[in-house]
């Protein structure tokens, strides 16, 4: 495109007067005028962005912030057990040797508050809610609350004996310590739970028993599978991107369709396709049986397990690796490799010492992008992952939709979000988000 040069600014004659400060046309000093103009331009630029920024804050930042707030705020105990909550607030923590009998169990006044609240819970049908909340921290206690609430009307003083008569679990010091921490509306306990930890009777933090640890192993699995998928994507993308970058444009444009068509095809279509391919009666197994690699009764299970998640996600994320690699490789002049070869380097030396280092920015961009997208995947693992191929997002969805432990879901989401944001920041540092390109 050719443009004529803009007309040279016509400086008023007084601006070049060497005796005074340089001034603009209206007589103000040039520096002031300039900074005023700059500020105006800054404001104008910002005003263009402001509507969108407000929109994104309203529909994205605020909702996520509000959701994360739930990870530290849960009033389902304090709102429904007011008397006992008040008692906890007035009385210090007992510890395992506290209480009138030195067994960590409080005295009659606490049991009276408990009985009052259980009666209220019976009236308002909130025993299940309270029980569910306490059950988060001490498994097996929900039924204690529902059962006791059902019998609350019959409770009479002395309440301690009466309640212990209903269920001796009320005499469990750990239960009282858990109820105390559940009575606090603001709590970090859900983060402890999200990290497979809990508080013991004395309020110390400890790991939960081995057979109940699921979140840390799932985070580890999510990171490990994402890394594996990013690695597989790199392995598959590198030769293809290299070929595309070296081919003449008219050929590479055609081959590019193979990359872009999957990229533009619906995620659910691609996941469905993989289900069709990977079923035990599916195309891949049929092909292997036909060729004779496996027998008809030895069909390989490639779906509803980790293999399904890995294969389908590698395919779905592969274009996100090929495109950045390709755009970097296209800028690498082939002359360097040729020069190295003519100077006596072996093909592999020329590749590893000359070509490969120049592709590193593309590798970094692709690997980080694929990794970031993979750690948050939900749909594909849910459909083809079985139970061993589930990722952390699936567990967040489980707690959102099935168990309805929303505070724990929020805590898990916060941890995932923190990880993703760290990677995003890294991406911006190393590659720059402006350099993200599609198509």
């Amino acid at each position: 495109m050719s443009t004529t040069a803009p007309p040279a600014p016509l400086l008023p004659s007084n601006a070049v007067d060497s005796t005074g400060p340089i001034t603009a046309a209206d007589g103000t000093p040039l520096q002031t005028a300039l900074s005023r103009a700059t500020r105006k331009a800054r404001i104008r630029a910002f005003l263009l962005v402001a509507p969108l920024l407000a929109f994104v804050v309203l529909t994205f930042v605020a909702p996520i912030g509000q959701m994360l707030w739930r990870s530290v705020s849960n009033d389902s105990f304090s709102a429904n057990m007011p008397a006992l909550t008040a008692w906890f607030a007035e009385n210090e923590a007992l510890g395992s040797d506290g209480g009138p009998e030195g067994d960590g169990i409080p005295g009659e006044d606490a049991f009276e508050a408990l009985a009052t609240d259980l009666k209220g819970a019976r009236e308002n049908r909130t025993a299940g809610i309270v029980g569910t909340r306490v059950n988060y921290d001490l498994s097996g206690t929900r039924s204690l609350f529902t059962k006791s609430a059902r019998q609350a009307r019959k409770l009479e003083a002395p309440f301690k004996a009466a309640l212990l008569d209903v269920d001796e679990d009320w005499g469990d010091a750990e239960l009282w310590s858990v109820m105390r921490s559940a009575s606090r509306t603001y709590t970090g306990d859900f983060y402890l739970a999200a990290l497979d930890m809990q508080r013991n009777v004395d309020g110390e933090i400890e790991a939960v028993p081995e057979n109940r640890r699921i979140y840390v192993p799932l985070f580890v699995r999510t990171l490990w599978l994402s890394a594996l998928i990013a690695g597989l994507c790199l392995l598959l993308a590198f030769p293809v991107a290299h070929l595309l970058a070296r081919l003449p444009l008219r050929y590479s444009n055609i081959l590019m369709i193979f990359v872009l068509l999957p990229f533009w095809t619906s995620l659910l279509v691609r996941t469905t396709s993989w289900m069709v391919m990977l079923q035990s009666q599916g195309v891949v197994n049929d092909l292997m049986v036909a060729v004779g690699i496996v027998g008809d009764d030895g069909r390989i299970q490639m779906m509803y397990n980790q293999a399904g998640t890995i294969i389908a996600m590698t395919h779905i994320l592969l274009p996100f690796m090929i495109l950045p690699l390709y755009s970097v490789m296209k800028t690498i002049p082939h002359d360097y490799v040729r020069a190295a070869r003519s100077l006596g380097a072996t093909p592999s030396t020329a590749f590893w010492r000359i070509y490969f280092p120049q592709t590193v920015p593309g590798i970094g961009a692709g690997v980080l992008l694929v990794f970031i997208l993979a750690v948050g995947y939900y749909i594909t693992p849910a459909l083809v992952g079985g139970s061993s191929g589930q990722l952390i997002s699936n567990l967040i969805a489980f707690h959102m939709q099935k168990s309805l432990n929303w505070s724990l879901a929020a805590a898990l989401a916060a941890l995932l979000l923190a990880g993703v944001m760290l990677l995003y920041w890294l991406y911006d540092r190393l590659i720059g988000i402006d350099n993200m390109k599609f198509g």
Binding site: A41, V283, D286, Y424
Partner: protein, 306 residues
């Protein structure tokens, strides 16, 4: 493949490696494209299976049928077996599950695209100005809907919309999808503004053009390809999105991906494959449009010889 020339002096080892390399690339391309293409023949399967029957492999016409495409229309109808006259088609239009899903998808897609494109283009103009304050930070915030895992966005919106009465409304879904489409609009439009000669707008202003005229006559023609491809990206994002819909939409606000999600998990029949085939054709059309736009943009900006 003879497109890549091997130098005449290449050794035997190099030749072997060269052809191995081409075969590997071929296999990777096969890996990329075969899942997309495999659904097309299978969607014409006469049997309710997801694999090739003997009849299909021998190209026996009996092995093929359009029944699953027909099922797209009849599934959910009140009287699918009635005579196919105008009232039958009316029944299709009003009651067929896939048709109403398509209607929802288009309504949500169009409105969220309009919203995302309008706001995103405006913001991209601001972001590409050299004077933009806190550019990097703001850009980061605006791009983040693309990076933040959808499940987090969806749960956040679930609570927020429940509290504000936006849950189960089209407005709510449209706003959510617009947010998800915005990063694409910003990225594509700012890309077309790279190397934009700001003296052009100054020249126009000096010649007495109003800001609106400057936008319409100078900026818009230059960024239009970017705006359109950004809009297409935003539309596809909405058209393909299911996680947010699963969380905030009402149960009768099915979109095509949501209906597919149900279908995959429940009455999985080759109907899903025929819908998938239609969507693949749809993406081929989109891909072509994007490619034409890209060439036009490069020609306009004089970046490549077209």
């Amino acid at each position: 493949m003879s497109m890549l020339k091997l130098p005449a002096h290449a050794s035997l080892g190099e030749r072997v490696w060269h052809y191995t390399y081409l075969v590997i690339c071929g296999l990777i391309f096969l890996f990329l494209i075969s899942p997309i293409l495999i659904v097309i023949p299978l969607s014409f399967n006469a049997e309710p299976y997801f694999t090739f029957t003997r009849e299909m492999l021998t190209f026996n016409p009996d092995g093929y049928s359009m029944r699953w495409y027909d099922r797209i229309l009849t599934f959910g109808m009140t009287a699918p077996d009635a005579v196919r006259d105008s009232s039958w088609w009316k029944d299709v239009w009003n009651n067929a599950d896939w048709i109403s899903a398509a209607k929802n998808s288009v309504i949500i897609g169009v409105f969220s695209t309009l919203l995302a494109t309008a706001l995103g283009t405006l913001a991209a103009l601001g972001l590409s100005r050299p004077e933009m304050p806190y550019r990097r930070l703001i850009m980061g915030v605006l791009i983040s809907p693309m990076i933040v895992p959808l499940i987090i966005t969806a749960t956040g919106l679930f609570f927020f919309y429940s509290a504000t009465g936006l849950a189960h409304t089209y407005v709510g879904i449209i706003m959510a999808h617009a947010t998800l489409g915005i990063p694409f609009v910003i990225i594509t439009v700012t890309a077309t503004l790279v190397g934009f000669d700001h003296s052009l707008t100054r020249a126009a202003q000096n010649l007495g053009a109003t800001p609106f005229t400057v936008f319409r006559q100078i900026i818009l023609p230059l960024i239009l390809p970017g705006v359109i491809s950004g809009a297409l990206f935003a539309f596809v994002t909405s058209f393909d999105e299911v996680v947010v819909v699963l969380f905030i939409a009402d149960f009768d606000q099915q979109t095509i991906p949501r209906q597919m999600w149900n279908g995959i998990r429940e009455q999985i029949s080759p109907t899903i494959l025929s819908v998938a085939t239609i969507l693949v054709i749809f993406s081929i059309l989109l891909l072509t449009t994007i490619e034409l736009l890209r060439r036009r943009s490069e020609r306009l900006r004089g970046l490549s010889p077209g």
